[in-house]
Protein backbone atom coordinates (compact mmCIF):
# COMPACT_ATOMS: atom_id res chain seq x y z
CA UNK A 1 0.00 0.00 0.00
CA UNK A 2 1.40 3.33 -1.05
CA UNK A 3 1.18 6.48 1.00
CA UNK A 4 -0.73 9.25 -0.67
CA UNK A 5 1.24 12.52 -0.69
CA UNK A 6 -0.20 16.00 -1.01
CA UNK A 7 1.72 16.61 -4.22
CA UNK A 8 0.34 13.46 -5.83
CA UNK A 9 -3.19 14.24 -4.68
CA UNK A 10 -3.39 17.86 -5.83
CA UNK A 11 -2.57 16.87 -9.38
CA UNK A 12 -5.63 14.71 -9.69
CA UNK A 13 -7.90 16.91 -7.53
CA UNK A 14 -10.91 18.73 -9.03
CA UNK A 15 -10.21 22.16 -10.50
CA UNK A 16 -12.17 24.11 -7.85
CA UNK A 17 -9.78 22.91 -5.20
CA UNK A 18 -6.77 24.15 -7.09
CA UNK A 19 -8.17 27.67 -6.91
CA UNK A 20 -8.35 27.62 -3.07
CA UNK A 21 -5.64 28.98 -0.75
CA UNK A 22 -3.00 26.41 0.10
CA UNK A 23 -3.94 26.08 3.80
CA UNK A 24 -7.49 25.09 2.87
CA UNK A 25 -6.17 22.73 0.24
CA UNK A 26 -4.08 20.95 2.81
CA UNK A 27 -7.08 20.65 5.14
CA UNK A 28 -9.23 19.17 2.39
CA UNK A 29 -6.38 16.81 1.59
CA UNK A 30 -6.33 15.61 5.13
CA UNK A 31 -10.08 14.96 5.12
CA UNK A 32 -9.73 13.15 1.83
CA UNK A 33 -6.93 11.06 3.16
CA UNK A 34 -8.71 10.21 6.40
CA UNK A 35 -12.22 9.53 5.13
CA UNK A 36 -12.36 9.05 1.39
CA UNK A 37 -9.08 7.59 0.15
CA UNK A 38 -9.35 3.79 -0.01
CA UNK A 39 -12.85 4.10 1.49
CA UNK A 40 -11.36 4.69 4.92
CA UNK A 41 -14.67 5.97 6.30
CA UNK A 42 -15.61 2.31 6.41
CA UNK A 43 -13.25 1.83 9.32
CA UNK A 44 -15.35 4.33 11.25
CA UNK A 45 -18.72 2.84 10.33
CA UNK A 46 -17.58 -0.71 10.98
CA UNK A 47 -16.02 0.42 14.23
CA UNK A 48 -19.19 2.23 15.22
CA UNK A 49 -21.23 -0.90 14.60
CA UNK A 50 -18.93 -2.81 16.95
CA UNK A 51 -19.15 -0.03 19.54
CA UNK A 52 -22.96 -0.17 19.38
CA UNK A 53 -23.09 -3.94 19.63
CA UNK A 54 -20.73 -3.98 22.60
CA UNK A 55 -22.60 -1.14 24.35
CA UNK A 56 -26.04 -2.67 23.88
CA UNK A 57 -24.89 -6.19 24.74
CA UNK A 58 -23.09 -4.99 27.84
CA UNK A 59 -26.07 -2.86 28.83
CA UNK A 60 -28.42 -5.84 28.68
CA UNK A 61 -26.08 -8.05 30.68
CA UNK A 62 -25.40 -5.22 33.12
CA UNK A 63 -29.08 -4.51 33.74
CA UNK A 64 -29.94 -8.18 34.22
CA UNK A 65 -27.04 -8.80 36.61
CA UNK A 66 -27.60 -5.48 38.34
CA UNK A 67 -31.29 -6.16 38.92
CA UNK A 68 -30.66 -9.63 40.29
CA UNK A 69 -27.91 -8.43 42.61
CA UNK A 70 -29.98 -5.45 43.75
CA UNK A 71 -32.99 -7.66 44.47
CA UNK A 72 -30.92 -10.14 46.44
CA UNK A 73 -29.20 -7.41 48.42
CA UNK A 74 -32.34 -5.46 49.26
CA UNK A 75 -34.38 -8.58 50.00
CA UNK A 76 -31.64 -9.64 52.38
CA UNK A 77 -31.53 -6.25 54.06
CA UNK A 78 -35.33 -6.06 54.32
CA UNK A 79 -35.73 -9.30 56.24
CA UNK A 80 -37.37 -8.80 59.59
CA UNK A 81 -36.22 -12.13 60.91
CA UNK A 82 -32.77 -13.53 60.47
CA UNK A 83 -32.42 -14.25 56.73
CA UNK A 84 -32.10 -17.91 55.78
CA UNK A 85 -28.74 -19.42 54.96
CA UNK A 86 -29.15 -19.44 51.16
CA UNK A 87 -30.07 -15.78 51.09
CA UNK A 88 -27.11 -14.97 53.33
CA UNK A 89 -24.71 -16.82 51.05
CA UNK A 90 -26.15 -15.17 47.93
CA UNK A 91 -25.91 -11.79 49.63
CA UNK A 92 -22.25 -12.36 50.46
CA UNK A 93 -21.50 -13.40 46.88
CA UNK A 94 -23.20 -10.25 45.60
CA UNK A 95 -21.25 -8.09 48.02
CA UNK A 96 -17.95 -9.62 46.92
CA UNK A 97 -18.92 -9.24 43.28
CA UNK A 98 -19.68 -5.54 43.67
CA UNK A 99 -16.54 -4.91 45.72
CA UNK A 100 -14.20 -6.66 43.28
CA UNK A 101 -15.69 -5.25 40.09
CA UNK A 102 -15.82 -1.71 41.41
CA UNK A 103 -12.45 -2.03 43.09
CA UNK A 104 -10.40 -2.88 40.00
CA UNK A 105 -9.95 -0.85 36.80
CA UNK A 106 -12.00 -1.89 33.80
CA UNK A 107 -8.80 -1.94 31.74
CA UNK A 108 -7.36 -4.58 34.04
CA UNK A 109 -10.60 -6.58 33.93
CA UNK A 110 -10.43 -6.54 30.13
CA UNK A 111 -6.82 -7.70 30.17
CA UNK A 112 -7.65 -10.55 32.52
CA UNK A 113 -10.72 -11.65 30.57
CA UNK A 114 -8.99 -11.21 27.23
CA UNK A 115 -5.66 -12.82 27.99
CA UNK A 116 -6.27 -15.08 30.99
CA UNK A 117 -9.86 -16.24 31.20
CA UNK A 118 -11.48 -16.25 27.77
CA UNK A 119 -8.53 -15.77 25.39
CA UNK A 120 -10.69 -15.17 22.31
CA UNK A 121 -9.37 -16.28 18.89
CA UNK A 122 -11.90 -15.05 16.35
CA UNK A 123 -13.32 -11.55 16.09
CA UNK A 124 -16.70 -12.92 17.12
CA UNK A 125 -15.16 -14.34 20.28
CA UNK A 126 -13.40 -11.04 20.93
CA UNK A 127 -16.67 -9.16 20.62
CA UNK A 128 -18.30 -11.63 22.99
CA UNK A 129 -15.43 -11.26 25.42
CA UNK A 130 -15.82 -7.48 25.35
CA UNK A 131 -19.58 -7.66 25.85
CA UNK A 132 -19.30 -10.06 28.76
CA UNK A 133 -16.50 -8.15 30.49
CA UNK A 134 -18.20 -4.78 30.14
CA UNK A 135 -21.56 -6.30 31.09
CA UNK A 136 -20.21 -7.85 34.26
CA UNK A 137 -18.46 -4.60 35.10
CA UNK A 138 -21.53 -2.48 34.43
CA UNK A 139 -23.69 -4.88 36.45
CA UNK A 140 -21.82 -3.92 39.60
CA UNK A 141 -22.65 -0.25 39.11
CA UNK A 142 -26.23 -0.91 38.03
CA UNK A 143 -26.66 -3.10 41.12
CA UNK A 144 -25.76 -0.26 43.44
CA UNK A 145 -27.94 2.19 41.52
CA UNK A 146 -30.90 -0.20 41.53
CA UNK A 147 -30.43 -1.03 45.20
CA UNK A 148 -30.50 2.63 46.14
CA UNK A 149 -33.64 2.98 44.02
CA UNK A 150 -35.40 0.13 45.78
CA UNK A 151 -34.31 1.44 49.19
CA UNK A 152 -35.59 4.91 48.34
CA UNK A 153 -39.19 3.70 48.16
CA UNK A 154 -41.07 4.30 51.40
CA UNK A 155 -41.53 1.13 53.45
CA UNK A 156 -45.24 1.92 53.55
CA UNK A 157 -45.51 0.90 49.90
CA UNK A 158 -44.30 -2.62 50.61
CA UNK A 159 -46.59 -2.79 53.66
CA UNK A 160 -49.59 -1.61 51.66
CA UNK A 161 -48.95 -4.23 48.99
CA UNK A 162 -48.42 -7.00 51.51
CA UNK A 163 -51.46 -5.99 53.55
CA UNK A 164 -53.62 -6.58 50.48
CA UNK A 165 -52.31 -10.12 50.28
CA UNK A 166 -49.82 -9.64 47.47
CA UNK A 167 -46.69 -11.68 48.06
CA UNK A 168 -43.21 -10.22 48.22
CA UNK A 169 -42.42 -10.79 44.54
CA UNK A 170 -45.75 -9.39 43.34
CA UNK A 171 -45.35 -6.29 45.47
CA UNK A 172 -41.79 -5.81 44.23
CA UNK A 173 -42.79 -6.19 40.61
CA UNK A 174 -46.01 -4.15 40.52
CA UNK A 175 -45.38 -1.55 43.20
CA UNK A 176 -41.74 -1.09 44.22
CA UNK A 177 -39.80 -1.59 40.98
CA UNK A 178 -41.86 0.73 38.75
CA UNK A 179 -41.38 3.55 41.25
CA UNK A 180 -37.74 2.71 41.83
CA UNK A 181 -37.09 2.64 38.09
CA UNK A 182 -38.49 6.13 37.71
CA UNK A 183 -36.25 7.38 40.51
CA UNK A 184 -33.06 5.84 39.18
CA UNK A 185 -33.57 6.62 35.52
CA UNK A 186 -31.17 9.61 35.56
CA UNK A 187 -28.47 7.53 37.28
CA UNK A 188 -29.05 4.65 34.88
CA UNK A 189 -28.71 7.10 32.01
CA UNK A 190 -25.37 8.25 33.37
CA UNK A 191 -24.26 4.64 33.62
CA UNK A 192 -25.26 4.01 30.00
CA UNK A 193 -23.31 7.06 28.86
CA UNK A 194 -20.28 5.97 30.87
CA UNK A 195 -20.61 2.49 29.40
CA UNK A 196 -20.67 3.83 25.85
CA UNK A 197 -17.50 5.80 26.45
CA UNK A 198 -15.79 2.96 28.29
CA UNK A 199 -16.22 0.66 25.30
CA UNK A 200 -13.22 2.54 23.87
CA UNK A 201 -11.07 0.45 26.23
CA UNK A 202 -11.84 -2.73 24.30
CA UNK A 203 -8.99 -1.80 21.97
CA UNK A 204 -6.70 -3.49 24.50
CA UNK A 205 -8.12 -6.85 23.53
CA UNK A 206 -7.73 -5.88 19.87
CA UNK A 207 -11.40 -5.36 19.15
CA UNK A 208 -12.03 -3.11 16.13
CA UNK A 209 -14.32 -0.56 17.73
CA UNK A 210 -14.59 3.03 16.62
CA UNK A 211 -11.56 4.07 18.69
CA UNK A 212 -9.47 1.35 17.12
CA UNK A 213 -10.72 2.53 13.72
CA UNK A 214 -9.33 6.00 14.38
CA UNK A 215 -6.00 4.49 15.45
CA UNK A 216 -5.83 2.40 12.29
CA UNK A 217 -6.48 5.43 10.12
CA UNK A 218 -3.81 7.43 11.96
CA UNK A 219 -1.30 4.69 11.20
CA UNK A 220 -2.31 4.64 7.54
CA UNK A 221 -2.62 8.35 6.89
CA UNK A 222 0.27 9.53 9.07
CA UNK A 223 -1.90 12.24 10.56
CA UNK A 224 -3.54 12.26 13.97
CA UNK A 225 -5.46 15.53 14.12
CA UNK A 226 -8.49 14.78 11.98
CA UNK A 227 -8.99 11.13 12.99
CA UNK A 228 -8.85 11.79 16.72
CA UNK A 229 -10.86 15.01 16.63
CA UNK A 230 -13.46 13.18 14.52
CA UNK A 231 -13.45 10.33 17.01
CA UNK A 232 -14.12 12.72 19.86
CA UNK A 233 -16.95 14.34 17.92
CA UNK A 234 -18.49 10.95 17.17
CA UNK A 235 -18.59 10.07 20.89
CA UNK A 236 -19.86 13.53 21.75
CA UNK A 237 -22.72 13.37 19.26
CA UNK A 238 -23.67 9.88 20.43
CA UNK A 239 -23.74 11.00 24.05
CA UNK A 240 -25.80 14.06 23.18
CA UNK A 241 -28.34 11.93 21.32
CA UNK A 242 -28.52 9.51 24.26
CA UNK A 243 -28.97 12.36 26.71
CA UNK A 244 -31.82 13.72 24.63
CA UNK A 245 -33.56 10.34 24.39
CA UNK A 246 -33.22 9.73 28.12
CA UNK A 247 -34.67 13.17 28.80
CA UNK A 248 -37.71 12.36 26.69
CA UNK A 249 -38.20 9.03 28.47
CA UNK A 250 -37.89 10.69 31.85
CA UNK A 251 -40.46 13.33 31.01
CA UNK A 252 -42.86 10.67 29.77
CA UNK A 253 -42.59 8.76 33.01
CA UNK A 254 -42.99 11.87 35.13
CA UNK A 255 -46.14 12.88 33.29
CA UNK A 256 -47.95 9.84 34.63
CA UNK A 257 -47.91 11.35 38.10
CA UNK A 258 -49.45 14.70 37.37
Amino acid sequence: MTVLTFAKWIVGAPAWIASLPEGLQRLIFQFYQVFIYENRWKFFTDGLATTFIVTIGALLIGVVIGMIVALIRSTHDNQMRKPNIILRILNSICKIYVTVLRGTPLMVQLLIMGFVVMVPKTSFQTTLCAIITLGINSGAYVAEIARSGIMSINAGQMEAGRSLGLNYAQTMWHIILPQAFKNILPALGNELIALLKETSLVTVIALQDVTKAAQVIVSKAYTAVIPYISLALIYLVLVMILTKLLGILERRLRKSER
Partner: protein
Protein backbone atom coordinates in the same frame (compact mmCIF):
# COMPACT_ATOMS: atom_id res chain seq x y z
CA UNK B 1 -63.81 -21.32 71.48
CA UNK B 2 -66.75 -19.22 70.40
CA UNK B 3 -67.17 -19.30 66.65
CA UNK B 4 -68.01 -15.67 66.75
CA UNK B 5 -64.40 -14.80 67.45
CA UNK B 6 -62.61 -13.71 64.31
CA UNK B 7 -59.23 -12.70 65.74
CA UNK B 8 -57.67 -13.87 68.94
CA UNK B 9 -54.23 -13.10 70.28
CA UNK B 10 -52.50 -15.15 72.92
CA UNK B 11 -49.72 -13.69 75.08
CA UNK B 12 -48.44 -11.55 72.26
CA UNK B 13 -45.01 -10.06 73.03
CA UNK B 14 -42.85 -7.82 70.93
CA UNK B 15 -39.45 -6.87 72.28
CA UNK B 16 -36.82 -4.68 70.70
CA UNK B 17 -33.63 -5.77 72.40
CA UNK B 18 -33.96 -6.35 76.14
CA UNK B 19 -35.18 -2.92 77.13
CA UNK B 20 -38.10 -2.04 74.88
CA UNK B 21 -41.26 -4.03 75.47
CA UNK B 22 -43.51 -2.72 72.71
CA UNK B 23 -46.01 -5.45 73.54
CA UNK B 24 -46.11 -7.57 76.64
CA UNK B 25 -48.43 -10.57 76.99
CA UNK B 26 -51.32 -9.11 75.09
CA UNK B 27 -54.28 -11.46 74.97
CA UNK B 28 -57.39 -10.20 73.27
CA UNK B 29 -60.36 -11.23 71.17
CA UNK B 30 -62.17 -9.52 68.36
CA UNK B 31 -65.73 -10.67 67.67
CA UNK B 32 -67.26 -10.78 64.23
CA UNK B 33 -69.16 -7.61 63.40
CA UNK B 34 -67.65 -5.76 66.32
CA UNK B 35 -66.02 -2.35 66.25
CA UNK B 36 -63.06 -2.21 68.61
CA UNK B 37 -61.28 1.05 69.18
CA UNK B 38 -57.77 1.03 70.63
CA UNK B 39 -56.63 4.07 72.54
CA UNK B 40 -53.57 4.85 74.59
CA UNK B 41 -50.63 7.19 74.92
CA UNK B 42 -47.96 7.47 72.27
CA UNK B 43 -45.57 4.53 72.39
CA UNK B 44 -48.00 2.33 74.27
CA UNK B 45 -47.93 -0.31 71.55
CA UNK B 46 -51.19 0.37 69.70
CA UNK B 47 -49.65 0.24 66.23
CA UNK B 48 -47.47 -2.71 67.11
CA UNK B 49 -50.51 -4.61 68.31
CA UNK B 50 -52.61 -3.74 65.27
CA UNK B 51 -49.82 -4.58 62.85
CA UNK B 52 -49.25 -7.89 64.60
CA UNK B 53 -52.77 -8.92 63.69
CA UNK B 54 -51.89 -9.23 59.99
CA UNK B 55 -48.25 -10.01 60.69
CA UNK B 56 -46.83 -6.81 59.27
CA UNK B 57 -45.07 -6.98 62.60
CA UNK B 58 -43.75 -10.36 63.68
CA UNK B 59 -44.22 -10.86 67.37
CA UNK B 60 -41.32 -12.05 69.48
CA UNK B 61 -43.58 -14.64 71.06
CA UNK B 62 -47.25 -15.41 71.37
CA UNK B 63 -49.87 -16.37 68.85
CA UNK B 64 -52.42 -14.77 66.58
CA UNK B 65 -55.45 -16.78 65.50
CA UNK B 66 -57.45 -15.58 62.55
CA UNK B 67 -60.64 -17.54 61.89
CA UNK B 68 -59.22 -20.23 64.18
CA UNK B 69 -56.00 -20.59 62.19
CA UNK B 70 -52.74 -19.86 63.96
CA UNK B 71 -51.29 -17.44 61.44
CA UNK B 72 -48.10 -17.01 63.46
CA UNK B 73 -47.24 -20.57 62.44
CA UNK B 74 -44.46 -20.19 59.85
CA UNK B 75 -46.01 -22.97 57.76
CA UNK B 76 -49.15 -20.90 57.17
CA UNK B 77 -49.35 -18.93 53.92
CA UNK B 78 -50.01 -15.52 55.41
CA UNK B 79 -50.84 -13.94 52.04
CA UNK B 80 -54.12 -15.84 51.83
CA UNK B 81 -55.19 -14.63 55.26
CA UNK B 82 -54.10 -11.07 54.64
CA UNK B 83 -56.54 -10.92 51.74
CA UNK B 84 -59.30 -11.08 54.33
CA UNK B 85 -57.78 -8.39 56.56
CA UNK B 86 -57.94 -4.96 55.02
CA UNK B 87 -55.59 -2.36 56.42
CA UNK B 88 -55.68 1.41 56.33
CA UNK B 89 -52.57 3.37 57.21
CA UNK B 90 -52.02 6.77 58.74
CA UNK B 91 -49.98 7.80 55.68
CA UNK B 92 -52.50 6.35 53.17
CA UNK B 93 -49.75 4.48 51.27
CA UNK B 94 -51.55 4.68 47.95
CA UNK B 95 -49.49 3.60 44.96
CA UNK B 96 -48.43 6.93 43.43
CA UNK B 97 -47.60 5.52 39.99
CA UNK B 98 -51.11 4.19 39.40
CA UNK B 99 -54.45 5.86 38.90
CA UNK B 100 -57.06 5.53 41.62
CA UNK B 101 -58.81 2.83 39.62
CA UNK B 102 -55.60 0.87 39.15
CA UNK B 103 -54.86 1.18 42.88
CA UNK B 104 -58.23 -0.41 43.56
CA UNK B 105 -58.19 -3.18 40.96
CA UNK B 106 -54.59 -4.39 41.20
CA UNK B 107 -55.03 -6.80 44.10
CA UNK B 108 -58.46 -8.18 43.11
CA UNK B 109 -57.18 -8.88 39.60
CA UNK B 110 -53.93 -10.47 40.73
CA UNK B 111 -55.23 -12.38 43.72
CA UNK B 112 -58.86 -13.13 43.02
CA UNK B 113 -58.32 -13.56 39.30
CA UNK B 114 -61.13 -11.11 38.66
CA UNK B 115 -61.49 -9.88 35.11
CA UNK B 116 -60.55 -6.27 34.50
CA UNK B 117 -64.17 -5.39 33.73
CA UNK B 118 -65.50 -7.02 36.90
CA UNK B 119 -62.82 -5.50 39.07
CA UNK B 120 -63.40 -2.03 37.65
CA UNK B 121 -67.14 -2.30 38.04
CA UNK B 122 -66.79 -3.26 41.67
CA UNK B 123 -64.19 -0.56 42.27
CA UNK B 124 -66.39 2.12 40.73
CA UNK B 125 -69.39 1.01 42.76
CA UNK B 126 -67.38 1.23 45.96
CA UNK B 127 -65.80 4.53 44.92
CA UNK B 128 -69.25 5.91 44.31
CA UNK B 129 -70.22 5.06 47.84
CA UNK B 130 -67.44 7.27 49.21
CA UNK B 131 -68.33 9.97 46.70
CA UNK B 132 -65.21 9.69 44.55
CA UNK B 133 -66.43 7.99 41.41
CA UNK B 134 -65.43 10.98 39.30
CA UNK B 135 -61.81 10.75 40.53
CA UNK B 136 -61.24 7.22 39.27
CA UNK B 137 -58.72 8.29 36.66
CA UNK B 138 -56.84 10.72 38.89
CA UNK B 139 -53.42 9.94 40.32
CA UNK B 140 -53.04 9.96 44.11
CA UNK B 141 -50.96 13.15 43.99
CA UNK B 142 -54.00 14.94 42.55
CA UNK B 143 -56.17 14.13 45.57
CA UNK B 144 -56.62 15.87 48.91
CA UNK B 145 -55.63 14.00 52.07
CA UNK B 146 -59.23 13.14 52.89
CA UNK B 147 -59.82 11.86 49.38
CA UNK B 148 -56.63 9.80 49.53
CA UNK B 149 -57.73 8.13 52.73
CA UNK B 150 -61.18 7.38 51.37
CA UNK B 151 -59.54 5.77 48.33
CA UNK B 152 -57.25 3.80 50.63
CA UNK B 153 -60.28 2.50 52.52
CA UNK B 154 -61.93 1.50 49.25
CA UNK B 155 -58.73 -0.21 48.14
CA UNK B 156 -58.87 -2.44 51.20
CA UNK B 157 -62.62 -3.01 50.72
CA UNK B 158 -62.07 -4.17 47.14
CA UNK B 159 -60.65 -7.39 48.51
CA UNK B 160 -63.97 -7.97 50.37
CA UNK B 161 -62.19 -8.38 53.71
CA UNK B 162 -63.66 -9.97 56.80
CA UNK B 163 -62.10 -7.36 59.04
CA UNK B 164 -60.67 -3.90 58.60
CA UNK B 165 -57.66 -2.66 60.55
CA UNK B 166 -57.19 1.10 60.87
CA UNK B 167 -54.01 2.70 62.24
CA UNK B 168 -54.78 6.31 63.06
CA UNK B 169 -56.53 6.88 59.73
CA UNK B 170 -57.25 10.54 60.42
CA UNK B 171 -54.06 11.62 62.17
CA UNK B 172 -52.30 12.83 59.03
CA UNK B 173 -55.30 14.84 57.85
CA UNK B 174 -56.08 18.51 58.06
CA UNK B 175 -58.87 19.00 60.62
CA UNK B 176 -61.46 19.90 57.99
CA UNK B 177 -60.96 16.53 56.28
CA UNK B 178 -61.25 14.32 59.34
CA UNK B 179 -65.04 14.32 59.17
CA UNK B 180 -65.33 12.89 55.68
CA UNK B 181 -63.11 9.93 56.53
CA UNK B 182 -64.85 9.25 59.83
CA UNK B 183 -68.18 9.34 58.00
CA UNK B 184 -67.02 6.56 55.69
CA UNK B 185 -65.83 4.55 58.68
CA UNK B 186 -69.16 5.03 60.47
CA UNK B 187 -70.99 3.80 57.38
CA UNK B 188 -68.80 0.73 57.33
CA UNK B 189 -69.50 0.06 60.97
CA UNK B 190 -73.23 0.42 60.38
CA UNK B 191 -73.04 -2.17 57.62
CA UNK B 192 -71.65 -4.60 60.14
CA UNK B 193 -68.00 -4.59 59.13
CA UNK B 194 -65.64 -5.93 61.79
CA UNK B 195 -63.26 -3.11 62.58
CA UNK B 196 -60.19 -2.67 64.75
CA UNK B 197 -59.29 0.92 64.92
CA UNK B 198 -56.44 2.80 66.54
CA UNK B 199 -57.51 6.40 66.85
CA UNK B 200 -57.37 9.53 68.94
CA UNK B 201 -60.89 10.49 67.85
CA UNK B 202 -62.75 9.97 71.10
CA UNK B 203 -66.00 11.15 69.55
CA UNK B 204 -65.77 8.30 67.06
CA UNK B 205 -64.98 5.84 69.83
CA UNK B 206 -67.95 6.92 71.92
CA UNK B 207 -70.34 6.87 69.00
CA UNK B 208 -69.28 3.78 67.07
CA UNK B 209 -67.20 1.47 69.23
CA UNK B 210 -68.67 -1.65 70.77
CA UNK B 211 -65.59 -2.00 72.91
CA UNK B 212 -62.62 0.20 73.72
CA UNK B 213 -59.19 -1.19 74.52
CA UNK B 214 -56.96 1.10 76.53
CA UNK B 215 -53.29 0.26 76.11
CA UNK B 216 -50.54 1.42 78.39
CA UNK B 217 -46.85 0.50 78.25
CA UNK B 218 -47.30 -2.39 75.85
CA UNK B 219 -50.11 -3.97 77.82
CA UNK B 220 -53.88 -3.87 77.77
CA UNK B 221 -54.66 -1.77 80.80
CA UNK B 222 -58.41 -1.85 80.49
CA UNK B 223 -61.14 -3.09 78.16
CA UNK B 224 -64.76 -2.08 78.23
CA UNK B 225 -67.71 -0.51 76.51
CA UNK B 226 -67.26 3.17 75.66
CA UNK B 227 -69.52 3.98 78.57
CA UNK B 228 -67.38 1.98 80.98
CA UNK B 229 -64.11 3.39 79.73
CA UNK B 230 -65.15 7.01 79.46
CA UNK B 231 -67.58 7.28 82.36
CA UNK B 232 -66.59 4.59 84.79
CA UNK B 233 -62.94 3.61 84.26
CA UNK B 234 -61.48 0.93 86.52
CA UNK B 235 -57.81 1.87 86.14
CA UNK B 236 -56.60 5.24 87.43
CA UNK B 237 -54.44 5.53 84.30
CA UNK B 238 -57.48 5.66 82.04
CA UNK B 239 -58.93 9.00 83.17
CA UNK B 240 -55.39 10.33 83.43
CA UNK B 241 -54.84 9.55 79.75
CA UNK B 242 -58.25 10.80 78.69
CA UNK B 243 -57.66 14.09 80.47
CA UNK B 244 -54.26 14.47 78.81
CA UNK B 245 -55.60 14.31 75.28
CA UNK B 246 -58.42 16.79 75.74
Amino acid sequence: MSDNVIIRTENLCKYYGDKIHALHNVTAEIQRGEVVVIIGPSGSGKSTFLRSLNLLETATSGKVFFEDVDITDPKVNINIHRQKMGMVFQQFNLFPHMTVLKNLTLAPMKLKKMSKADAEEMALTLLDRVGLKDRADAYPSQLSGGQKQRVAIVRALCMSPEVMLFDEPTSALDPEMVGEVLAVMKDLAKEGMTMVCVTHEMGFAKEVADRVIFMYDGEIEEVGTPDEIFNNPQSPKTPQFLKSIL
